[in-house]
Amino acid sequence: MQPILQMKNVGISLPALNTRFDVLSDVSLEVYPGEVVGVAGESGSGKSMTGKALLNLLPAGAQVRGEINFNGVDLRKLDERGWRELRGGKIAMVSQDPTASLHPMLTVGEQLTDHLRTHLGYKKTTARKRACELLEQVRIADPDRALKSFPHQFSGGMRQRISIAIALAAGPKLVVADEPTTALDVTVQAGILHLFRQLSKEMDLSVIFITHDLGVLSALAERTYIVYAGRIMETAPTDELTGHPRHPYAKALLQARPETVDSGAGRGVLRPIPGQPVTASTAPAGCPFATRCPDRIEACTPLVPPLVPVSEPASQRNQHLVACVVHAPAPSLGESLPGSGAPQDSSKATVDSKAKDRV
């Protein structure tokens, strides 16, 4: 099967006073039709920027490097007209805070039908009928009444369901969900997770689920990418990643969860990740995690460790890749496989560090 979305070595930089700084250094990821893919990382890791790049919602002046291919279209060559069609049409977004993403002064019906009429050219009455179906699809009781209501008349969970309904309105192929459950209670979150699972099955919808909570991804996402300082640190099918993490950062993230520690008898000690997180622009030369890593060796700098396969993958899709010189298998395996990326040459690394000096 061909991936519906392919990002290859994507980097994003934003302008600052007299210079530019990176918010994303090098991210490659693939999404296949009908699958839920998790992107996990701390704040500042660039996980939200990855999602925004797919909808061209980056801040003004942002520059994107690398390739982004969606459904055979090169997104980097798209003009504003093309983006208008794609955004909300083929790729939709569900954001963290539905209170902010819904218009407070328009009824739910107005916001939903607006979308349907613009993207699909529906007439008023058909749009209304379709809006009702959409609300039913996201399990909102009494959709007729909901259409006439304003966002503030709903609870947080219901509002998030409404913004999901709006995202689904034009029949997108891919939904970028940026921390869609972070602002919700656990009981409500569970409902939204079920909804995403059902929608992805029923409509053959691909979902990129961005979160900092690996527990959420554990049951929902088929594959997970761990992002740190604008780079992919590790990726694998979620069960393999949580069961046999290779990268020290992935291990540290898993150990920082209260419920993993408490699974045994008695109260365990939560282990914080030492040091401060770095961002793509403040990362040192070499492995960005090196400054906080317990397993650091000399080889961690100054070259950025490439993503290499951990084992002979069953398929291109389900391979387990890790960007770590300590925990990756012998290099011969890494080199024999195409597409795993050769070590980045040092000239680029030095250019990067010079750019940092200017900042």
Partner: protein, 318 residues
């Protein structure tokens, strides 16, 4: 003597049609020295209102809050009683609870008790910074120079400079990400042991409360529905709401199943169903639930559910 005693507290707000809405409806809780009491519940259950009453920020409509036997009265323009100075609060968002335009040191110095001799004051503030694992140099810096986890530790240090006997922490880690949460949780755990202070730890995250609290109280619609030693509560929850909260926690595990959602929505506090407030969402609701259950003994704790009386009705499937 109990350190902090909250008894039968009611907090009422005036609703849209001038009708009174009870956000907290008769809650009793006590905190002992060196004890962490965890309070969990969904948003809108009244836990933050309770925190505001407990810390003396607002006046309860009924009931009392006592600190070491002295009644806590809300803050006004007058100087607070010395007896009440031992009550400190740590807020949810350190970015807004610390003043961005003042140096950390100055903000800490504000809280140093007036009785302390002037040459000791600065050292006392710096000691608290060290106690939360921050370098004393932090005192010369501004809040924007720190990460969320560090800021929250500074906010804790600020609570500590007054030598408090009780700390009320209202969702202190919710605004932080994984590694920041761990820093703050570890700091709080050490402090309680070291200084023998009592703590009311409010959170919506049951997994976190399980990790940190000695005693857990579960709140629903302004009422405590279950309270017990944390381990006992975790192993044998007495109230279906407690089990529902536990089932909804997403866990990292192999072949994980999606967490179980709780059906329905939290009812409008202005329109609480008669009888057991959880009746409308409870999978085990039966005839008796039209009558409101009181808190009844369940193991070593208490739960407000008729099911525990009947025993033999499985509260938690699987």
């Amino acid at each position: 003597m109990t350190l902090l005693e909250i008894s039968d507290v009611v907090v009422e707000y005036r609703g849209a049609n001038k009708k009174k809405v009870a956000a907290v409806n008769g809650v009793s809780l006590s905190v002992e020295p060196g004890q962490i009491v965890g309070l969990v519940g969904e948003s809108g259950c009244g836990k933050s209102s309770l925190a505001r009453v407990a810390s003396g920020l607002i006046k309860p409509s009924a009931g009392t809050v006592k600190l070491k036997g002295h009644t806590v009265s809300p803050l006004g323009w007058r100087r607070r009683d010395d007896a009440q100075l031992g009550l400190q609060m740590v807020f949810q968002n350190p970015y807004s609870s610390l003043n961005p335009r003042r140096r950390i040191g100055d903000q800490l110095m504000d809280g140093v008790p007036a009785s302390m001799p002037s040459r000791r004051r600065r050292d006392h503030a710096l000691e608290q910074l060290e106690r939360v694992g921050m370098h004393p140099e932090a005192a010369t810096r501004f809040p924007h120079q720190f990460s969320g986890g560090q800021l929250q530790r500074i906010a804790i240090a600020r609570a500590l400079v007054t030598d408090p006997s009780v700390i009320i922490a209202d969702e202190p880690v919710t605004a932080l990400d994984a590694s920041g949460q761990v820093q703050v949780v570890n700091t709080l755990l050490n402090l309680v042991k070291e200084l023998n202070v009592g703590m009311l730890f409010i959170s919506h995250d049951l997994a976190l409360v399980h990790h940190i609290a000695d005693v857990t109280a579960v709140m629903y619609l302004g009422k405590i529905v279950e309270t017990a030693k944390t381990e006992a509560l975790w192993q044998r929850p007495g109230h279906p709401y407690t089990s529902a909260l536990m089932d909804a926690i997403p866990r990292v595990q192999q072949n994980a199943k999606l967490p179980k959602p709780l059906k329905g929505e939290i009812p409008d506090p202005a329109n609480v169903p008669k009888g057991c407030p959880f009746r409308s969402r409870c999978p085990h609701a039966f005839e008796k639930c039209v009558e409101a259950p009181p808190l009844m003994p369940h193991g070593q704790g208490k739960a407000a559910c008729w099911l525990i009386q009947g025993a033999g009705i499985p509260v938690r499937a699987g």
